[in-house]
Amino acid sequence: MTGWMIIGISFSYLLLLFGIAHWAEKHKKRYLNFFHSPYIYALSLAVYCSAWTFYGSIGRVDTDGLDFLTTYLGPVIAAPLFGIVLKKMIRISKTQGISTVADFISARYGKSSFLGVLVSVISLLGVIPYISLQIKAIASSLSIVLSDYALIGSTAYIPLYITIFLAVFVLIYGNRHIDSTRQHIGMVTAVAFESIVKLMAFLTAGIFICYGLFNGLDDIFSRGIDLPVYPQLTALSKDNSYINWFSMTVLAFFAVLLLPRQFQLGVVENIHEKQVDKAMWIFPIYLLIINFFVLPIALAGFLYFDGQSYDADYTLLLLPLKASQPWIVILVYLGGFSAATGMIIVETTALAVMLSNNILMPLVVAIKPLKRFVLKNAQDRLRSIRKFSIVLILILAYGYYRSIAHSFKLSELGHISFVAIIQFAPSLLIGMFWKDATKIGAKVGLIVGFLVWFYTLIVPSLVEINRLPQQIVEEGIFGLSFLKPASLFGLTTLDTIPHAVFWSMTLNLLSFIAVSVYTKKDALETIQAELFVEVFKYYPTFVRGTESKGADDPLMIDKGAETEALYSERGPLSTLLETFFGKAETVKLFKEFQQQHSDNLAPLGNRSFYYFVEQRLSGIIGSASAKVMMASLGSDHHIDLQEVVEMVRESQQLISLNKELTETTAQLKRATEALAAANQQLQEADERKNEFLYTITHELRTPLTSIRAFAEILYDHPDLDDEQRREFLQAMTSEIERLSRLITEVLDLERLDIIKEGLNLQPLRVDAFISESVRAVSQLKADRNIKFDVTVDPAIVEETMADIDLLKQVMINLLSNAVKFCDQQSGHIGVNVWQESAKIVFEVTDNGAGIEEELYDKVFEKFFQATQANQGNAHVGSGLGLAISKKIVERHGGRIWVAASGKAATSFRFYIPLSN
């Protein structure tokens, strides 16, 4: 294997991601259920495990013991709360047109531009280094893998090329719609795939290291316990500080909800809230599994390298490399690569929306010439702004990687990023449940938290790389020792990160609550607070968000002509809409609005329509800019809480009504179909019944005709001689017998139809059964020369259960038919019984004229008579015997058929299954 091959594999893997995303986008309608499944959603959430955890967890064991677990423990503890918190975040975001954490907080506090900018800035500052960290992980793992190969030229630029590839990916699949609230099926599917790759890679490497290099987990632990570092490796955290451990858990607990990439996948890419229910348990299980081998591998690293120095962050890669297992090395490398790329893709997508919607758009809206420029061709220019944001973020991340990032360990950077992100927790999470939280409270809390974060974590890092004087760290700023970044207010017992978590969160939370209590909300804040906190009350159903909504919606009442008419009254609003949405989409919006407000046919100049448009616009340019943009339309569309509540209620009721109607319609349709089918069946049954009755009457009329004729003859001709009188009377009797036989059989047939479980099961003794049946027909053959051959296979040992009386009816019917149809001169009838797999087979053969092959099935139909074959009255049966036999055999779970028919050998066979 050459080094170039590994580079080739890296780029092939990236191409594979493109392929998957492309495939998913192309087939998203066709495999709707697959792409909308909770499994894809849950797997995509596992983007949480970035390269930082893939490689860094093992490195952390080295320095902080079991501290690495907190990164997973937090989310595992948070997962059960998804049902309450995440679902509420989703419902709020979908109803408000929110697509980022920044927009969420901005919208909650009266669509404040300032909050949007603040949150976006914190996110960018906190997360861009985190993206650099992924690039660093890719670069380091690559250089480790390539260290054995002397490559011609430099591989230093490979991370750059990879970053460019990823930028292209995000530009294509993370930036498909200018409406950022819409889902990116391709990106999500690719990320879910990456989650599988990294899990498989980690597990394979874990199994190889524990069972290939060592003799299993027990071996590693029994040897590891003797290591001098063992107590340190298995401590809860560095110095076994419980507060450290707890703070780190809290950190991860919030990060899993608030990290831009988690918000993107958990909220924006959520397709229906039911996905959350499954993700609630799949996601923690994923984390549990991917963690399983961390501690053993860390120990294995120590044991394997036995005192030599090595980079513990890359133990997972180094062990198979030293053991010369190129395939496992490549797999691990790809696992780490997938962890890094997945994170970069989603994080960049989310940050780009923040940067464009919450930082750049407010600028555009505020600066008149810029606004005019953008609005001239809003769709294209917005797209360009989004593209610019993506490229800028990746350039910053790459630049950061090139200039500073080497100076830090993987885990440090990750944690610094986490601490920045959890500053959103008070204003976002508490704001979702506490109506009295105010905009000023949120601002103050966030600023305080951010400053503490910067001072306690960033300042020391800058000092460390000599960008700031050493003295700040050693003596505190301005020489105030209680302001030392690592031990604020004299708190010296905590590590750097827990220390930062503690102070930033405490001060953030306290100032947020205190300021909120002492300040008042303005009108818009009041409305937004109400709509956020009581979202389930105002939006009892999850209404929009999927792509099917819109003109394709089958229930959409088409008011096409009216809509067009309204649309053509060109007001400033329709111009604005067309600017951002394009003409087709605007018409769709009108339709959608009318759908929700069916009695409201004049959207233009209508306040609810303004409100509706503003929500939609939020998805494109952010809540704050949407508010400013709508306000700039001139007329006063200020509305109070009462009005909003009324509007929301009205539209929601209509939507729920609509939903109910759809469901009811669907149910009705199903019921109608079922009824139609049942009716069809009934009609068919009815027709069969009619046909049957008609045939029966016909069959009854024939003997009755003779009986009546003879009776009238006897009555009208008293002078008949005795012989003739006897002949006629005998004919009458035989016709009467025929009649009563017919009635009995019809009743039999009907009875078999009606009785569902009426079989009177008894053990069947084949010998007795056959001899009794033969005896019953012997009267029939008395005056004729007919030879019977009965063979019962002695191998039949098993007794089966059967309704003997009914089964005898079948046997007698077959025998009497054989008697009727066998050769008139020298009749021969054979009876054979044998056992075959799990059935007993009965066969009756006669040497009569035979049955034509096309009649093999017909003979079992009701009232079929072999009329061609018989002309004499002696043969006339009811035509029901075989039909009845068929029913009886089938009731026993068996089958009856004509096995063969030709000159001198017509055989009927039936079997019944052996009962156990």
Partner: protein
């Protein structure tokens, strides 16, 4: 003596009709199915046919169609005796030019009266 052909596959019906018609003074011909009937008509040219519908080989309607298609036999009177009492059957018989349609079981006296009427 007037020749009458009885066509039926039920032997007891044939037996009774044979007796009745002989007693009434007709020369009786017998056929058990449509083919025999056509054969008998061609050889004996009866004045009247008493015809069943449901029969093997050629059914009653087939016999009627044959008779009506031959100018020589067009004048032969036809009485259908059938257990088929559906309107469709009766209408079909009428449209084919059958003289009388009697539903089984029928009154022997009415049958004799009808034959007498048709041959008068």
């Amino acid at each position: 003596m007037k020749k009458v052909l009885i066509v039926d596959d039920d032997s007891n019906i044939v037996l009774s009709l044979d007796f009745l018609l002989r007693k009434a003074g007709y020369t009786v011909l017998i056929a058990r199915d449509g083919e025999e009937a056509i054969e008998s008509i061609e050889t004996h040219q009866p004045l009247l046919v008493v015809l069943d519908i449901r029969m093997p080989k050629v059914d009653g309607f087939g016999v009627v169609q044959y008779l009506k298609s031959k100018p020589l036999f067009k004048q032969i009177k036809i009485i259908i005796l059938s257990a088929k009492g559906r309107d469709a059957d009766i209408e079909r018989a009428a449209s084919l030019g059958v003289d009388q349609y009697m539903l089984k079981p029928f009154s022997t006296r009415t049958l004799l009266a009808n034959i007498q009427l048709l041959l008068a």
